[in-house]
Amino acid sequence: MSSVQIRDVRKSFGTFEVLHGVSIPIEDGEFVVLVGPSGCGKSTLLRMLAGLENITSGTISIGDRVVNNVQPKERDIAMVFQNYALYPHMTVADNMGFSLKLRGARQEEISSRVNRAAEILALTPLLERYPRQLSGGQRQRVAMGRAIVRDPQVFLFDEPLSNLDAKLRVAMRTEIKELHQRLKTTTVYVTHDQIEAMTMADKIVVMHDGIVEQMGTPLELYDKPDNQFVAGFIGSPAMNFLKGKLKVNGAATFEGPNGIKLPLKTVPGNSDGRPVVYGVRPEHFTIADDGAEAEIVVVEPTGSETQVFAKLGGEQVVAVFRERHQFSPGDKVRLRPDPTLVHLFDETTGKRMNA
């Protein structure tokens, strides 16, 4: 186990820069999830950590050692690939033992470590099979097994669950999390699924177009997104955004599209009339007499809660209620955002404005 330091790392393919200076400190034993939309450079960063891509500038260190020019085999890391990359001509046991064999471990040691890993992952009955004889979920577990037999300094995962069906994905998510709690190995996990990120991470790093937008614990990111991108990316259903202006004379309010007025608790000084984006999470709406009038478009009950799509000042918003209101499309309701929980973003820079 080791800490990992990524300092101002840049990466160009030819003249095309993909990562524009990324710095991420990772503590020993931490579970860090890199999230971001497709093409933002998550895999590239992970592959640089693994030593599969060279580093254009900046440094990456594992433990106390700068690894910029260290071969993958010398880095003592294990990686699980999206397509698992199981060696097709080897049995599950040989797949898992390959790295130990390369290191020249004795046969008894190899089999005892493979057996232990197989037990943890419930792979014992499958040890003599070939990868083509396994289901997707089993292959995924073999790929993990191959990583854990080595007891490496760092685990790297690149979207390991994206080839699985929804149910298995949830199960494996828990399994990986459990494994981490047990082994406490520093882990960097790449996904573009924000639910995976929220549920698994000690620390989430949100990336976008080759930069880090924000990093922090899942709840920090959820409660206090630094900018509009993070606010929109984290959370499902996504945060509602309304464009409008601040009004500060008297009680602070937000004047939204078509003149709707929404409450605010505090506003930064000297900001009367400033154009802003007003953000509300779907669960922070309540039905109240002093709310803004909205017309219901679609109602989607999921059992535990109800998602309501409505037109608020002509803009579509989504609200989530745990109570069972009797709504039907076309109904008029009064929606009131909780003023202590709304987010304000600068309209041009997208930066968070309220504390």
Binding site: A50, G51, L52, Q71, P72, K73, R75, I77, A78, M79, F81, N83, Y84, A85, L86, Y87, P88, H89, F98, S99, L102, R103, P131, R132, R139, R146, R150, N163
Partner: protein, 283 residues
């Protein structure tokens, strides 16, 4: 397999397949029948009532005896085998390494080099044997098996390289990357992961290279002169066709025995070859 009722299967699958098979296997049948037919029957004009081209009731081994007794056919077989095996081994070794390098080591000009190698394969042998014979003479290799063992790779190496390049490209690069993270050096990843996964490709390159050198005619004709150095294709033609007299029986016997090793090579590896075509990778 064609779906549907029995007649559809007959019309669209079995019948065309049968015609195709007859077309392909007929030369073999002809070779076999001619090998065992006595001379007396072989030279009957077609308009005689006794002309029965497709069967014989008096099989004879006279042609075989002639082939193995009066000519140096056994030596030709040995020569051909030796030359084909050694030149295939050399070409495969170089081809696998070159194919790997060209498809996996992203060095400058790799693509151009790959194309160039393929282009050299397209240079006709009928042109190439002129400079080659000059070289063979300079190094006094004429009339030895080495003249062929060293000239066959001039077309076999480009062929194997090109074939292996394509095959290595189809092996997911994650496999190799994973091996390197697992602690393998580049050569270990190649040796333990990429090459075993590419075995079907290597086998097909081997079969083709072996067949090409087994059947090669022009270089063998030009570079070898004494009867006991010849290969089967050249030996059979030069020793069993005298002027315009064709010794059909021994000729066909020679052709038959000459094609047996290739047929064995094919049937031995065909299973691997086919399983290679139906992908073994994709997680």
């Amino acid at each position: 397999m064609i779906e549907g009722s029995a007649w559809r299967r007959w019309v669209f699958f079995r019948l065309p397949m049968g015609i195709f098979l007859i077309f392909l296997l007929f030369p073999f049948y002809w070779m076999i029948i001619t090998t065992f037919r006595p001379d007396g029957e072989l030279y009957i004009p077609w308009y005689r009532a006794t002309y029965k081209p497709f069967w014989t009731w008096n099989p004879t081994t006279a042609h075989l005896k002639y082939l193995f007794g009066e000519t140096t056919f056994a030596i030709w077989m040995w020569n051909t085998t030796f030359i084909a095996v050694v030149s295939t081994a050399i070409s495969l070794f170089c081809g696998v390494l070159a194919g790997y390098a060209l498809s996996r080591l992203n060095f400058k000009g790799a693509a151009l080099l790959g194309t160039t190698i393929f282009v050299t394969y397209l240079v006709p042998q009928t042109l190439l044997f002129i400079p080659l014979s000059e070289i063979i003479r300079t190094y006094s290799l004429g009339d030895t098996p080495w003249s062929l063992i060293l000239s066959y790779p001039t077309f076999l190496i480009p062929f194997c390289t090109w074939l292996m390049m394509g095959y290595f490209k189809s092996v997911p690069k994650e496999l190799e990357e994973c091996a390197r993270i697992d602690g393998a050096a580049r050569w270990q990843a190649m040796l333990y992961i990429v090459i075993p996964v590419a075995v079907p490709g290597i086998l097909s390159a081997m079969i083709f290279a072996f067949t090409l050198s087994w059947n090669e005619f022009i270089y063998a004709l030009v570079f070898l002169s004494s009867p006991e150095q010849k290969t089967v294709p050249v030996g059979v033609i030069s020793e069993l066709v005298r002027g315009d007299v064709f010794f059909w029986g021994p000729l066909m016997a020679g052709a038959l025995f000459g094609s047996i090793p290739v047929a064995i090579a094919y049937s031995f590896f065909v299973e691997h070859y086919v399983s290679g075509v139906t992908g073994s990778v994709k997680g």
